[in-house]
Symmetry: C2
Amino acid sequence: MDASLLTITPGAAEPIYRQIVEQLRRMITSGQLPPGESLPSVRDVAGRHAINPMTVSRAYSLLEGEGLLERLRGMGMVVAATRRARPAGERMSLLEPRLHDLARAARELELPASRVLRRLGELLEDGE
Amino acid sequence: MDASLLTITPGAAEPIYRQIVEQLRRMITSGQLPPGESLPSVRDVAGRHAINPMTVSRAYSLLEGEGLLERLRGMGMVVAATRRARPAGERMSLLEPRLHDLARAARELELPASRVLRRLGELLEDGE
DNA sequence: CCATGTGTATCAATACAACAATACACATAG
DNA sequence: CTATGTGTATTGTTGTATTGATACACATGG
């Protein structure tokens, strides 16, 4: 995997290490990063995004703790062999909290459901 | 306005004062809280949710800085008289960041747009 | 005047994130 | 063996954010 595929925003409210964790978790869960795929080295990611190597290492370690990554000593990190892409229903559950937040915000803003759905539809198509 | 209308989750990642700020901002922007409507006292909110009065005060002060609230000295806070409900287009922009985050997460999870939209549709209807 | 109700200024405590600079253990290429 | 590449443990520092405790200024009702 190329280090440039990670989107990192140092100024954001969400801490950097968690941005990395959640992004990789999603890409592994979907199978976008297949088992055996090797990840960019911590120094590579750190250098390219001008962040501290230990911050990247922290993210990798957390994912190893989840069983999503495996550590090959002396070599890099790799997507765990046992980790296959999960079915859509399971992936969907990772989206649920965000969906609930969005729904609540839309309700408090008294926005018509049709308008929210239409806009989201646009954004979902643009990305592909 | 009743203090119990606020939904506060002390354990959440989002800080308490910001939960209050964003919630009230949405309710004022939509007109759900009309100009002149008085807000619950800081001690009322704090007592009911077991949080510190200063945390509530901080939220109120930020909203006063935005021009959404007015301070009546010695008495409480009130929705600013000049603050009318905003048109839907403007309210929509408050939702944009959340929509982008959601779209990105869905893309990384490789979830079909139809499924995401369907689920959001359900959640939007349940709330009303 | 006094009791009670507002919001808040001030200071302190705590937690967290990120960085910096090493040093170490391991594996591979030469 | 050596050089270079992995990840990581360690220690310390810095900056910031969040929350809390206390005391104060103001307004109103009695």
